[in-house]
């Protein structure tokens, strides 16, 4: 039972942290609950579908279908996070003013909640597919027992607890800072996803450059430990990064900063005048 708990919890960590951040980043947006719930639901359904076709996916692209799919899913999430960052840079300040003035329950529904709901859905999809396959294996392997499912359920509950911890931790930040904090978190999240995506492409054999390992910090902070895993999900921490991973990470951070800078209204207006 403990084994099942650990495996499911580990898979849920990443999706849980992302959902927590998205919920915090959209505080005060009406209807965000439905958006996030839709994302989770669609992601869960998608995970089931992926698990159903796991064999076909595994055999696609010369046995690298899974890596290609993961890279595509991560790449899409990065683009969605960039879209969100650009939008927030344009409208974030007015929203912060609104929230401070009238309380938390104002903000517009015109925000691109679709982008963040998609990110949530993709996170659940990626992590969920592994959980489904693992649980299916319990059945197929004939080692089925209710204690394993109890473990899985507890793992899921622990993941949900982590989500709410992330959320309440973030929303305790004063309203005027929360957009800055979540913007930084979203940028780091995107950078980490981009670094993961290039590693999948490398594993698939699509990319064959800069694949040497830069450093090994696993003795101090192992990526498969609980802290390492959380840092991996949050800021993309990798204990043995390749050169390409670092390049992708820094490039994504730079792109996020540039997008934010260019989309900020004052500068955009200035640019139009000039």
């Amino acid at each position: 039972m403990f084994g099942a708990l650990i495996i499911v919890f580990r898979e849920v960590i990443e999706a849980g942290l992302i959902i927590g951040i998205v919920l915090a980043a959209t505080r005060g947006v009406s209807g965000r609950g439905q958006w996030v719930a839709t994302g989770v639901l669609a992601g869960t359904l998608g995970a089931g579908i992926i698990a159903l076709f796991a064999e076909a996916i595994a055999n696609a692209f010369e046995g690298s279908g899974q890596e290609i799919l993961n890279a595509a899913v991560l790449g899409t999430a990065v683009v969605m996070l960039m879209w969100h960052a650009a939008w927030m840079a344009r409208h974030g300040r007015e929203m912060a003013v609104e929230m401070a003035a009238v309380g938390a329950a104002v903000s517009a529904g015109r925000r691109p909640m679709t982008a963040l709901a998609t990110v949530v859905g993709l996170a659940v999809l990626r992590e969920g597919a592994e959980v489904v396959l693992f649980l299916y294996g319990i059945f197929a392997g004939g080692t089925s027992s209710s204690s394993l499912f109890a473990g899985a359920a507890l793992g899921l509950a622990a993941g949900a607890a982590l989500t709410s911890l992330t959320y309440y931790g973030l929303v305790s930040i004063p309203a005027r800072h929360i957009f800055t904090v979540t913007a930084v978190l979203v940028a780091l999240l995107a950078a980490g996803m981009a670094a993961q995506a290039v590693q999948y492409l490398d594993a698939a054999g699509v990319i064959n450059v800069l694949s040497s390992q830069l450093w090994d910090s696993s003795p101090w902070l192992p990526q498969d430990g609980i802290v390492g895993r959380m840092l991996h999900a949050l800021i993309g921490y990798t204990d043995r990064p390749t050169e390409l991973q670092l390049v992708a990470y820094l490039a994504t951070l730079a792109a996020m900063a540039a997008l934010t800078w260019l989309s900020t209204p004052a500068r955009a207006a200035h640019a139009r005048i000039v």
Partner: protein, 108 residues
């Protein structure tokens, strides 16, 4: 339309990649164990390991030191691409049956 285009591009990349990998090794998962449990590969080269899962249940081929985390569904096959590796021992395991499924890649 855009989806089709993407699929074609990915397929082309996938085919191009076949020629990029130098050497192939085989690994079988049977009764939640790896066979063989030790693989010797050349250091400093890209290597591909074809993992066949003969069990009915899925297994996750995992190795932090090889930077691989890959689910191999029951009764199917997956290819793991690793390297270039520095000489040394790189342990791997089956995450879904970590107590029995263990192995090591030795780069030399």
């Amino acid at each position: 339309m855009r989806g089709q285009l993407l699929a074609i591009v990915l397929a082309a990349l996938g085919m191009a990649s076949v020629h990029a990998v130098a050497q192939d090794f085989n690994l079988t998962i049977r009764n939640h164990k790896f066979e063989p449990q030790e693989i010797r590969v050349p250091a400093g080269k890209r290597v591909s390991i074809s993992v066949t899962n003969e069990d009915a249940s899925a297994e996750e081929f995992e190795s932090p030191s090889l930077k691989v985390e890959k689910v191999i569904p029951g009764k199917s096959k997956g290819v793991v691409r690793i390297g270039p590796l520095a000489p040394g021992r790189y342990e791997f395991f089956g995450d879904f049956h970590a107590d029995t499924a263990k192995g090591v890649v030795i780069a030399e």
